[in-house]
């Protein structure tokens, strides 16, 4: 029997919403949080740079911050929300993991570190993963819902725990830390003039900063790597669910398909699919096209919308037929609203479209 999205929300400890940009992922994550609170869960939604309107819709007039705030909701459970601030999350981790305050300050002041913390693509995903780790262990919450960053290919989040590992396993890092290790010695010799030449080409002390960063980071990598392993294990365990968010557009469907395949190759599976912004259906048109012009126009409109809706469903069915998605994966089609989603009411409407109340 199909496990519904609602069943997943009732039992999961982690829900990851993934999909390409512009498909309503953040709105979906917020609506899932509302439903979870309705089920009595203590849920926290981690959003990544939501439009201010979502913060407004959630009833947080000043906007969301890096610390979870509890939302005013009439529900048996609780709904909390936060907006991930990549740089300050990273700073906090450095402070918590440094051997002493002096090491922390040396790293925080380093220009290379500031670039990594503030702008390196992948750092955002990595910090979302770190945040997930911390929130999952936080006693205030029993469900963490993550709205993944709108990445170029929607896959980076899975690689995120490896992002920093890639840096600390970097040959340059190893070279500096283990200058006498045999295999790297040749490289070490060759590297010095290389560093100088690169400096000449790109200008300034670009690499001096990097070298200083790697030296300052020494000794902290174990903690980072352990947490990365924890997150990978958490994502792969049976308390985690992946919800694929798409729209009926060809490009987002392709991306969703690609994502499902990618999850499968990592030994993970999509638990549920949400297809947003579908053309709504309004029932069958009368069997005969009315003769009066005004009615004929309404008839044609109904037929046209129906054809569009059918084409969208057929396309979505094509997505669902791919090998990486189990036959019985629970799928919800959410129709386009006639307006924009930027009020609590609209969000509530989305919630009840996702989870129709039983009569």
């Amino acid at each position: 029997m199909t496990i519904t999205l609602n069943d997943h929300l009732a039992t999961a400890e982690v829900v990851i919403c993934c999909g390409s940009g512009g498909v309503g992922k953040t709105t979906t994550a917020a609506a899932l949080g509302m439903q979870a609170a309705g089920l009595g869960r203590r849920a926290v939604v981690v959003t990544i740079d939501p439009a201010r309107r979502l913060a407004d819709a959630l009833g947080v007039p000043g906007g969301l911050t890096n610390d979870p705030v509890r939302l005013d909701l009439d529900a048996p459970g609780e709904l909390w929300a936060l907006m991930l601030d990549t740089a300050s999350t990273f700073d906090g981790l450095v402070r918590a993991n440094a051997e002493n305050a002096e090491q922390a300050e040396r790293i925080l002041a380093n220009r290379f570190y500031r670039n990594v913390a503030g702008s390196l693509s992948g750092t955002q995903d990595y910090m979302a993963a770190e945040r997930l780790h911390a929130l999952h262990q936080d006693d205030r919450f029993d469900l963490v819902i993550v709205d993944t960053p709108p990445t170029r290919n929607a896959l980076d989040f899975l690689d995120a725990p490896n992002t920093l590992a890639r840096f600390i396993d970097h040959p340059l890092f190893k070279m500096l830390m283990l200058p006498t290790r045999r295999g790297l010695k040749v490289f070490n010799l060759a590297a010095q003039p290389v560093l100088k030449t690169i400096g000449r080409v790109v200008g300034g002390d670009v690499l001096t900063d990097a070298v200083a960063f790697f030296q300052a980071f020494s000794g902290m990598e174990t903690g980072f790597r352990e947490r990365a392993d924890d997150v990978i294990a958490l994502l792969g365990s049976d308390v985690s669910r992946f919800v694929l968010v798409a729209s009926p557009r060809a490009d987002t469907i392709e991306e969703a398909q690609f994502f499902a395949t990618r999850l499968q190759s990592s030994g993970l599976a999509v638990s549920a699919v949400v297809v947003n912004r579908c053309t709504p259906t309004f029932g069958e048109p009368p069997s005969k096209r009315p003769r009066a012009a005004a009615q004929a126009a309404l008839h044609d409109n109904l037929v046209e919308l129906r054809a569009t809706a059918d084409a969208e469903r057929a396309h979505a069915a094509h997505l669902l037929a791919c090998d990486a998605l189990a036959n019985d994966v629970h799928t919800t089609f959410v129709p386009t609203l006639s307006g924009d989603v930027h009020t609590m009411e609209a969000l509530t409407t989305i919630r009840f479209l996702l989870f129709p109340p039983t009569r």
């Binding site: 990445t151 290389v194 200008g203 729209s247």
Partner: protein, 280 residues
């Protein structure tokens, strides 16, 4: 006035907009329409998705990847002997991280090179995804502020010169006629003008549901025909009011692309969309 006129006067058009607004579609339609005007067109793809070759048959497309461009750049600047080792050891990553924007500069530098070659009348750039357009275009200014001397600083200066010249380069913003996309387009337009200092071409409003309002009253209340008409009218009213808001808030000519029924965008659909701008 013909809002498409700019394709004949500018050399580089950078298509920008948030994810999901249809940048790639607009890139294809713009290229198609320019070709119909007899221009020699090149499309530059930064995303690495080989979709445009399928959408516009016969179109000349170049894919530029940041890391490959950076490697190539270091190659031609006295590092050819060690570039392969730099790439395999990941030092290219470190250079890119140590100097954010350097990869953007080499990509923009390649585009500038193509522009200077004079081979093409128009180069359409399918801009970076997920709203990185501002960071991408600010890279030149950022680097000029931090890097003193050296070939990369020269490159950044050349790129900045190109971006500031409306005869050489303009940005084509893409949006949808809905509330949040219009707000985002207004913010992006302000940032591009004030912070980057680049000239804005006509803004493209994509997927517009045009048409007269339907006479809802002609069908019985609660009937499928009535409900469908109410939905359609609400959408059309939203699109009309958002276009009005855009017109009032942003002094730019608008290029409209109608909503394509169905969900499949293929070469035929791009061709039909190009008809609305440049009849064949």
């Amino acid at each position: 006035m013909d809002p498409l006129q700019f394709v004949s006067t500018v050399r580089v058009a950078i298509v920008a907009g948030k994810g999901g607004v249809g940048k790639t579609t607009v890139t294809g339609v713009l290229a198609r329409a320019a070709i119909r005007r007899g221009l020699r067109v090149l499309v530059v793809e930064l995303d690495g998705k080989p979709t445009l070759e399928e959408l516009v048959p016969g179109l000349e497309v170049q894919h530029i990847s940041a890391s490959a461009a950076l490697g190539e750049y270091l190659d031609t600047h006295g590092l050819s002997r060690v570039t392969r080792r730099l790439t395999s050891s990941g030092i290219i990553d470190v250079v890119a991280t140590a100097s954010p924007g350097i990869d953007d500069i080499v990509v923009l530098g390649k585009i500038k090179q193509l522009e200077r070659s004079g081979v093409y009348d128009l180069i359409v750039v399918d801009g970076p995804a997920a709203g990185h357009a501002i960071t991408f275009l600010l890279a030149a200014k950022g680097l000029l502020a931090t890097v003193r001397g050296g070939p990369i600083a020269t490159q950044a200066a050349d790129v900045a010169e190109m971006l500031a010249d409306p005869a050489r380069c303009q940005v084509v913003l893409v949006t949808l006629p809905e509330t949040t996309p219009v707000n985002e387009a207004l913010e992006t337009a302000a940032a591009l003008r004030e912070r980057v200092g680049v000239h804005l071409a006509p803004i493209v409003v994509n997927a517009v549901d045009e048409g007269p309002l339907l006479d809802e009253q002609a069908a019985k209340e609660g009937s499928p025909m009535r409900a469908a008409a109410e939905f359609r009218n609400a959408r059309r009213a939203l699109h009309a009011s958002e276009r009005t808001r855009l017109t009032e808030a942003l002094e730019l000519p608008q290029l409209i692309l109608p909503q394509v029924p169905g969900s499949v965008l293929d070469a035929d659909a791009v061709d039909r969309l190009a008809d609305t701008w440049a009849p064949s």
